[in-house]
Structures are given as C-alpha cells and as structure tokens.
C-alpha cells in the first residue's frame, strides 16, 4: 500500500537528519525499499529541502529525549559528554514503540548492558541508574526496593541533582531503600559502612 510506504519513509526521514541530508544532496538510495508512487517521491524530495523538516527532526528528538531526561536525570548527568553518543546508539539499536515513556526503562536496560559488556565506562552510573530505574518503577506501582551503592549516596545524588559530577565521594557499602505508599515515595539510607573518599 503506497500510503503506508510514504508514511514510513517520511517518518524515517523525520527520525534521521542524516537521512534527510543524503536525500537533500540528491542521493535517492535512501528511498529504496519503500513502496512509493512518483508523486510521493517528488513530495519527499521537496519536503527535505524545507526548513520545516529540520524543525520536525528537532521536535522528534526533543520528544524522545524529554522522557529520558525527566526519568533518568542523574544518570544523564553522570554520562556527561557520553550522553549524545549513547542516545544515538540506543535509537539506532532499538525501534520505538507507541509510548516514549517506556523508553526510560529500555534506555536504562541498554546502558546496563553497555556497562556489563565493557562498551561503556562511566563512574557512578551503575548505582545511580539502578536507583533511578527503581524510583521510576515505584512511580507506577506501590512496593519497596533496595539499591546498593558503592559510594555515599547522599552527596553523590545531591551533586548529580545539581547537574554536576562530584570529583570524589566516600566509598563503602550502602543500602538505599525506596518505598511507595499511597502516592508518596520515601527514600532513606538503611545501612552504610563507609571507608574512604574515592
């Protein structure tokens, strides 16, 4: 069905500024694989030249990034300059689904796998990511969760919440409990055995 092919091609262009630039330069190869009429090809070739296509691409990326930035703010801060590349790799690796809100969980899993495989090294990310994923789950369901930290969670999370990665935080073994009840989420440090600043 041609309408389906046109909508898929247009959406793929909106999702990929690189694809738009190639088509803008006259490279029609990016439209191969779509079932398109000649008029639909002309339409796509015309819209990639318009300023509105750049705006559409930017709004698409803002719409996808907003739930991740809102749901994993400290993890994004911890990632620092590595964030754009990790986001790009995640978007390239995984198709969207109908609700971007679930991308918080999926991006968290993606980062966890990157850390475990050694493809990504990022100080504090493992523990902060576990904390924020637990917090997000409890926003949707009542219950409790315990997250282990290898760094003192209080100064660590305070600094990341302020948008900065702390230089040195006391290391040790810490357990942070999160508990959701009647719409409220309580968070406290249940046990700690600090050793030194690391």
């Amino acid at each position: 069905m041609s309408i389906a092919g046109f909508q898929q091609a247009l959406s793929d262009l909106i999702a990929s500024p690189q694809r738009c630039l190639r088509l803008r330069a006259g490279d029609q190869a990016g439209l191969e694989g779509y079932e398109l009429s000649e008029r639909e090809r002309r339409r796509l070739a015309a819209v990639v030249l318009q300023p509105g296509m750049s705006v559409s691409c930017s709004i698409y990326r803002a719409n996808r990034l907003t739930p991740i930035a809102g749901g994993l703010p400290c993890s994004c801060t911890a990632l620092g300059d590595a964030l754009p590349a990790e986001i790009e790799a995640f978007w390239a690796a995984e198709a969207t689904d109908m609700q971007f809100g679930r991308e918080v969980e999926r991006f968290g899993r993606f980062l966890g796998e990157r850390l475990r495989s050694g493809g990504l090294e990022c100080r504090y990310l493992d523990e902060v990511l576990s904390f924020e994923l637990a917090l997000n789950r409890l926003r949707h369901e009542e219950g409790a969760s315990t997250v282990r930290f290898a760094h003192d969670p209080v100064p660590l999370l305070e600094a990341l919440t302020e948008g900065r990665v702390p230089g040195a935080v006391a290391t040790g073994s810490y357990e942070v409990v999160l508990e959701a009840n009647a719409g409220d989420i309580r968070v406290w440090v249940a046990s700690e055995s600090g050793t030194a600043s690391g």
């Binding site: 909508q7 959406s11 999702a15 300023p51 296509m53 705006v55 698409y60 689904d97 109908m98 971007f100």
Partner: protein, 301 residues
C-alpha cells in the same frame, strides 16, 4: 449523517482547561475557575501494545487524581492515540479503551487530531512517528480517514471531533486545501470540528497565509470546540509548544470566530505544566476569564 449538535447532551459547557499535572494545585485554590476539564486519556495508562494480553495498564496515582477532579467537573476526552491518518486499519483495542473511558467519565464529546503518529512495520511491530505528522489532503486519505471516523462514531455514542493539525512541512501537489479537506470529512461522516485557533495561527505564520481567511473557508456549523494556547519560536519557526499565555492575534481570531459558530460547546485553553510557574495563577485566571467573555459571544453573528 448526524449533526454534532443533534447528539445527546448537546448543551454548551463553557470554558475549560486541558488537564496537566499543575492543575490539581490550581483547582484546589480556584475550584470554580473552569466549567470543564479536557484530558488526554492516553497519558493515564501505559500501553503495552496490541499483542499484550493486558494491554492498557492504568497509572494508579494519575487516575486517582482524575477521579477526584471528575467528581466536580465534566470531563472531555482528547485522544492522541487513534492516529486516524495512519495507513491501515483503525486500532480496535484503542477504540474499546476510549469507549470504556467515555462511559466511565461520561465524555460529552471526544476528539483526536488530523495527523498520524502510529506506524506498523512489516513484522507487525507498532512504533511511534515521534510527533503528529501531517497527511496530504488527497481523496485517498479522505476515504481512509472517513472510514476510521465512522468506525469511531459507531462505537462511541457521543460526538467525535477532528482537530486541525499544526505542521512544519508543506507537502506539495495536494488535491485539496486543508479547509476543503476538513469540510469534506465533516460532510461525509457528520463528525464535528475541534478548531485549534493557535494551530491556525502557527501554520499561518510559518507558511505565510491569512489565518482569518482560513477560518472563513471552514464550515463553522461543524465547530463544537475551540482550542487556544501559547507557543514559542524554535529554529526559525513558531511552534505549538503551549508555552504560557495566548498571544493577542489568537485572541483576535477567537473574538472574530466565536460569534459565527452556532454550535460551540467549549473553549479550551491549553498550557504545558512546565510553564505554570511562569504563567502564574493570576494570569491563568485572567486567561480563563477573557475566554469566558468571548464564549458569551457565541452564535450571535
């Protein structure tokens, strides 16, 4: 075809707000401020996909907040999930879910946008286009969308409205203008129009046409609800970001349009919760009051 006003419960409601997470605080201080609330039902649940046995999982805290507000305010549904412009079949699971919420909250009418967001890959996986993407105003699309609107109307027993979209790209070689397309869709299906005047204003600014002439080309007999909102500049274009107060040209459009809309039932002000602190409680009350004064002019021309 049934006219929107001929459906049950066709009384005007007045002035409403699009629900956002800042509103419980505002309404706690201003319980009589609005005549109704409009909600985006899709934001109150997680959709686990058509293949899931328990597809729609409601977000308990959000639904509890809505239940409290619904005890004191009429609730109007404003969907983003029908994606009536998408190729392929209407999502019947989404339709059943919205029909259930219409019964539960007694929406006097409900609506969605003239655009598409849902895409279905060859393997059946559904994904999101990331924004409300415009459809070309062609006869083939008119047939496709009219069939979906008719299916929605058969299942949900209150008027269904289609909202004019905001768009940033101009698709060339279209067979109809946007007003011609909207008028034809309304004529063929009997659906109503949700006339978003801020979208008209944004499109007119970005694509250099006369907003008043656009409104004049619409069949205003079909308009049941009007949206007003604020926006912002982004990358050289004006967007429908719902950023704060309604700009003066949109108020002027509203004042010129409302007297010519005989079946208007509501004017809804939309703002994003992230702009609530900047907008402020007093300014929000003034925006609502101004909208209420204009609403009083309905159908007098």
């Amino acid at each position: 075809m049934g006219h929107p006003e001929s459906a049950p419960g066709g009384k005007p409601l007045g002035v409403g707000l699009l629900y956002n997470t800042a509103l419980p605080e505002f309404l706690a201080e201003n319980p009589e401020a609005v005549d109704y609330l409009e909600v985006i039902p899709d934001t109150f649940w997680s959709d686990h996909g058509a293949s899931s046995s328990s597809r729609f999982e409601e977000i308990a805290g959000a639904v509890s907040d809505l239940d409290r507000l619904a005890a004191d305010h009429p609730i109007v549904g404003h969907s983003i999930g029908f994606s009536i412009g998408s190729a392929g079949e209407l999502d019947l699971g989404q339709l059943r879910q919205i029909a259930g919420w219409q019964r539960r909250y007694r929406f006097p009418w409900h609506s969605d946008h003239l655009s598409f967001a849902r895409l279905t890959a060859h393997d059946g996986h559904e994904h999101n286009a990331g924004l409300a993407v415009p459809v070309p105003y062609d006869h083939e699309l008119l047939d496709l969308i009219a069939a979906k609107v008719a299916a929605i109307q058969r299942r949900v027993p209150v008027p269904f409205l289609v909202e004019n979209n905001v768009y940033f790209i101009d698709i060339p070689e279209q067979e109809m203008s946007e007003p011609e397309f909207l008028n034809a869709l309304c004529e063929r299906t009997g659906c109503g129009l949700l006339l978003d005047l801020h979208n008209v204003y944004a499109n007119a600014r970005n694509h250099d046409f006369d907003a008043a002439a656009f409104v004049a080309a619409l069949d205003l007999e079909r308009v049941v609800e009007i949206h007003i909102a604020g926006g912002s500049e982004f990358a050289g274009m004006y967007t429908d970001s719902h950023a704060g107060p309604c700009p003066e040209p949109v108020w002027q459009l509203l004042e010129a349009t409302v007297p010519r809309v005989p079946h208007l039932r509501g004017v809804t002000f939309e703002f994003h919760e992230s702009y609530y602190d900047a907008l402020g409680e007093d300014r929000l009350r003034r925006e609502i009051e101004r909208a209420r004064q204009v609403f009083g002019l309905r159908g007098v021309a």
